[in-house]
């Protein structure tokens, strides 16, 4: 059975070291043919024997993307028992992702979570006794991917995708209703309308593809959430970390009502830092929303930075936060440590069970110690970097491209004056592809929409 080529970034992503992009499938040579050229000027990997490496360049439209080492394994002597190619590149978030993109553009598709391992097992490469471990990997990676794809999608993008999907569904439902009940529902004049809608949808999707290119689709990096009571100095900490005055810092408690976020690098480790509204009971509706959001983000965080104002005694709000971070990776930051302390370092360490670091956001002290602690946690493996996010992003982009192509086919069909029933085939394809991004399947959407929107039947 012919299997398609899958690709993924095999190494964790950080700004340091080497990254590996792995491909597996029958047709890996066909993919490599289009993007790899050896130092000696030979394109592709077809002539490379198994377990041999070759030095060369990854090329995109005539320009060099990176200098790489390509390692080829031939079926069945590989991890998946298929042809496998590993591209060792110079690493770095940007280049690695560019190469993965290029591989996908040239015929590979982003691997599903755990798919390499799954193939290895299904092809008999992995011992039976390991089957359960395989299942665990698939399960955990999928759960993670799902969490990523749904929660990591930026709010506004999520909204846009829903809008487009909804419009596609309604258009399809209209066509299908008319096909099923031609005596009650007419499609006269619908082509022009559909053409307009499709152009609008395409514009949105193409814009999303661009933003995926810029890495703006997903929040990538260790999700780090700053928590604390109002006015504990959370926004000042964020400013300190990013080194400018992006977050608004005021003396009025409750200023940060929404969630601010920044991507920063600490010793080559990528962090997405989110500053949240101070946690306290409030009657202000807008602030309430902010507080709820803070809780939500904190729940999904990989790391929590809990900021405590040392000049104010702990209260019920702190209790809530301390309880919340008990099972999470967290660092406690004792802020305003230059003022008269109400709370001691030891007391706080005892109550939270976490590492406590004294900082002064105002005087910009303690930052180095914090950075070192984060780096230590990362390199000791306490804090895992979530490389699934990159591949999730690649998968989402692939789905967007598919959807865009399907919608272009709709326009083609309209231009060629094809009958309306041909449009819905491609419309539904686009709908399903977009559903992969939002994690929604089609199920009975279409039938339900037909009956909800149109008065059908005898």
């Amino acid at each position: 059975m012919k299997t398609d080529v899958i690709a993924a970034i095999a190494t964790g992503m950080s700004e340091a070291g080497i990254s590996i992009i792995r491909l597996s499938g029958e047709q890996t040579d066909a993919v490599m043919e289009k993007l790899f050229v050896s130092k000696a000027g030979v394109w592709g990997t077809a002539d490379i024997a198994g377990y041999t490496a070759r030095y060369g360049y990854i090329m995109d439209q005539g320009s060099v993307i990176d200098e790489v080492l390509v390692l080829v394994m031939r079926a069945p002597k590989s991890y998946t028992r298929e042809n496998v190619v590993e591209i060792d590149c110079h690493g770095g978030v940007v280049v690695t992702r560019k190469i993965l993109d290029l591989v996908i553009r040239n015929g590979a598709r982003p691997a599903e979570p755990g798919e390499f391992t799954k193939r290895a097992f299904l092809n008999g490469r992995i011992d039976l006794s390991q089957a359960e471990a395989v299942i665990d990997i698939i399960r955990s990676k999928n759960d993670l991917a799902l969490k990523n794809s749904v929660h990591q999608l930026r709010g506004s993008l999520h909204g846009k995708l829903h809008e487009v999907r909804d419009r596609i569904l309604r258009d399809t439902a209209y066509i299908e209703a008319a096909l099923d009940d031609p005596e009650h529902i007419s499609l006269d004049g619908f082509r022009e309308e559909l053409e307009n809608h499709t152009h609008e949808n395409l514009a949105v999707i193409d814009q999303l593809i661009d933003s995926a290119d810029n890495g703006r689709m997903l929040k990538e990096g260790i999700r780090t959430v700053i928590l604390g009571k109002p006015n504990a100095g959370k926004s000042s900490l964020l400013n300190l970390l990013i080194g400018d005055d992006r977050a608004i810092v005021t003396e009025v408690a409750g200023t940060t009502r929404d969630v601010l976020e920044e991507t920063i690098l600490i010793q080559g480790i990528c962090l997405t830092v989110m500053d949240t509204a101070g946690i306290r009971p409030t009657s202000d509706r807008v602030e309430q929303i902010g507080v709820e959001k803070a809780r939500k983000y904190a729940k999904e965080a990989d790391l929590i930075l809990y900021v405590v104002d040392s000049s104010v005694a702990l209260d019920g709000n702190d209790e809530e936060i301390i309880e919340f971070i008990r099972d999470k990776k967290a660092i406690v930051l004792l802020n305003k440590s230059d003022l008269n302390p109400e709370i001691g370092e030891e007391e706080l360490a005892a109550r939270t069970g976490k590492k406590v670091i004294r900082i002064s956001a105002a005087k910009k002290t303690g930052l180095e110690e914090l950075e070192q602690e984060i780096a230590d946690m990362f390199f000791h493996g306490d804090l895992s970097f979530n490389d699934e996010i990159y591949i999730t992003n690649a998968r989402q982009k692939a789905a967007l491209i598919e959807a865009s192509e399907s919608l272009s086919k709709v326009l083609e069909s309209i231009a060629c004056n094809m009958p309306e029933d041909f449009y819905s085939i491609d419309l539904m394809n686009a709908y399903e592809e977009l559903g992969r991004i939002t994690g929604e399947s089609m199920d009975e959407d279409l039938i339900d929409t037909i009956f909800r929107e149109f008065c059908m039947g005898k």
Partner: protein, 632 residues
């Protein structure tokens, strides 16, 4: 006193559209078959709309015919109007519909049944299905007679504990005042079968003499009637056709309905069953679509020998006095005389997820089911299931594997897969949007898709099979030929093209390439194709469709390939889902309930995610390797 009657191979319960096909299939496959009906005079009764076919249902009839079923032939003999719907759209959604003379239809089907060897018809009510060790062993009637048998096919339609309702009138009868079957449900429940309660409805019938047709638009049949059956000669379809008529409801109608909603059993809560969204009552339409100021009403004759007209679009369960005012508010019906009132009907049916794709109950061997009893709606859906249940009951008795059509082979496959895999909360109606590979599942190619299967099953004659093979060959040959014949850019060619308002050729092209131009067709290209042999019109139709939509067809075929990969991965009967690690709870529950036969079927269960499927695949491989290990 209970007594034992003689034994049969198969007992079919119910002689509606499902029961007739089931009984005919079994008898034609040489099994001694007994068909029970509550009234011999109501065999193949059409208690609701007076037509066969329509969108996607027409496809089902063609498929039934291609497999050797009876419905297509029967409507060809008894149609009084014929129409191909959706002709302005693509060939995949062209749908044939015929108005039937209801009495003729019923009488003609009865004649066929009565003259089929191995088939015995019996009037009576089956009250109990008898089993032994989880296997069917016979049936018992309400008169206490026991009929031993090896397989039972339940096709009870809308008769189980049926109740007909309008206003506050409620009669414990089946459709048309026929007796309901009141015992069987209890017996089925005792066997552990889960029952649903569904409802449907029918509009009033009005005396033709009281209708003012001058206030309506005439709806004629097609000039050239087209047969359903591939065995009916198109040239024989020359009967004079009758017309239907179109009128509309209006604000006054809607006002009458709105004022009396509180008297509707649907809104008062007297009706508890779930109705089909596809056939809403007129009160449903008025409530759900308040912005529509009118609804279409089609007036359709019930037959040639009756004045009754079917008022399509206005089914209702409102009280008689409201119905009277409501119908009379419609243009042309001002003086309408109602012959039969509209009513809603409630009945027992099963949760079809208890069935295998062969339509056999999972927990009771030898017990099959078809038709509205399985939670579907419509004559054609019923007939399709009846045929498949009949075929598979017969195969079971012969020790053969069941015939299961998949979603890429037939609408019948989509219908049955949906019923047994997806939860249905309303009577299921076939719709073209449910068929994901519909470009391949056209009504024009049902014979090419299925007749070979029908032949293998034993329901298609050698002669018909040979004809099919000849047709396939002609299509293939002509497709190859048209791809090979090249036309140059000479003046004769350009002249012919210009005459057909087609742009001249820039370089030489094959006839097939020219056929892709929307303004050209096979017949119009004749002057450029002197070598051409005379071919039958059905062959030409296939050639044209295949060339014209080649790109789309290829894409769907590619999708089908992907689809089949998953269908081929079988899940062994013995699987214990509690043993599969890491399935999510919802997925595990659904899989345990439905017990899909393939990974493909599992993928269509709502609540089973791609990750669950991956887990399942790995588990199955583990299972397989262990199995092999055990043998070594």
């Amino acid at each position: 006193m209970p007594y034992q009657y003689e034994s049969y191979d198969v007992v079919v319960v119910g002689a509606g559209h499902a029961g007739c096909e089931a009984a005919l299939a079994c008898a034609r496959l040489s099994f001694h078959t007994l068909l029970f009906t509550i009234s011999v005079d109501s065999i193949a009764l059409m208690p609701c709309n007076p037509n066969i076919g329509g969108t996607s249902k027409g496809h089902l009839v063609r498929e039934i015919d291609a497999l050797g079923g009876e419905m297509g032939k029967n409507i060809d003999k008894t149609y009084i109007q014929s129409k191909m719907l959706n002709l302005s759209k693509g060939p995949a959604v062209h749908s044939l519909r015929a108005q039937a003379d209801k009495q003729d239809y019923s009488r003609e089907m009865r004649r066929v049944l009565e003259n089929t060897p191995n088939l015995i018809i019996k009037q009576g009510e089956v009250s109990e299905v008898l089993t032994q060790d989880g296997r069917v062993s016979g049936v018992r009637t309400s008169s206490d007679a026991v009929y031993p048998c090896r397989a039972v096919i339940l096709c009870t339609g809308t008769y189980l504990n049926a109740r007909c309702i309008y206003g506050d009138v409620s009669n414990a009868t089946g459709p048309n005042g026929l007796a309901a079957a009141t015992h069987l449900t209890d017996s089925l429940k005792k066997l552990g079968i889960e029952m649903y309660r569904f409802k449907t409805g029918t509009p009033a019938r009005i005396d033709k003499r009281s209708i003012d047709f001058s206030r309506m638009e005439e709806q004629k049949g097609d000039e050239k009637a087209v047969p359903f059956s591939f065995t009916t000669s198109p040239d024989s379809m020359t009967k004079p056709q009758v017309s239907c008529w179109l009128t509309y409801t209006n604000e006054a109608t809607h006002e009458i309905i709105r004022e009396n909603l509180d008297r509707s059993p649907l809104f008062s809560g007297d009706i508890k069953g779930t109705g089909p969204r596809y056939c809403p009552s007129i009160e449903d339409k008025v409530v759900k679509f308040p912005d529509k100021d009118r609804h279409q009403v089609f007036i359709e004759p019930e037959g040639n020998y009756t004045n009754e007209m079917y008022i399509s679009g206005m089914s209702s369960s409102l009280p008689e006095d409201v119905q009277y005012r409501m119908y009379r508010s419609v243009a042309g019906l001002e003086n309408a005389q109602i012959v039969r009132n509209a009513y809603a009907i409630e009945y027992d049916c099963i949760n079809p997820m208890q069935l295998k794709p062969s339509l056999e109950f999972k927990q009771i061997e030898g017990l099959f089911a078809g038709g509205q009893f399985n939670g579907s709606s419509g004559y054609e859906e019923a007939a399709a299931q009846g045929l498949m249940a009949g075929i598979n009951a017969a195969r079971k008795l012969s020790g053969k594997e069941p015939v299961i059509l998949d979603r890429s082979e037939a609408y019948i496959g989509v219908l049955i897969d949906d019923l047994v895999t997806k939860e249905t909360h309303e009577p299921y109606r076939m719709m073209t949007s449910r068929a994901e590979y519909r470009l391949l599942l056209r009504q024009d190619n049902a014979d090419l898709r299925l007749t070979e299967k029908g032949y293998e099953i034993g329901l298609i004659s050698e002669e018909r099979y040979q004809k099919l093979l000849r047709k396939k060959e002609q299509i293939e040959e002509e497709l190859v030929r048209l791809g090979r014949v090249m036309l140059g850019t000479g003046p004769e060619v350009q002249k012919v093209l210009a005459d057909l308002s087609s742009v001249p050729l820039a370089s030489s092209a094959s006839l097939a390439e020219l056929l892709r131009r929307p303004e050209l067709n096979y017949v119009s290209l004749k002057p450029l194709d002197p070598e051409r042999k005379e071919l039958p019109s059905d062959v030409i139709e296939q050639v044209e469709i295949n060339i014209r939509y080649e790109g789309y067809i290829k894409r769907q075929m590619h999708q089908v390939e992907q689809f089949r990969k998953m269908e081929r991965k079988r899940i062994p009967d013995s699987i214990d889902y509690d043993e599969v690690p890491s399935l999510r709870i919802e997925a595990r529950q659904k899989l345990k309930q439905i017990r899909p036969e393939s990974v493909g079927q599992a993928s269509r269960i709502s609540g089973v995610s791609p990750a669950d499927l991956s887990v399942l695949l790995v588990y199955l491989e583990q299972h397989r390797q262990r199995g092999n290990g055990g043998l070594l």
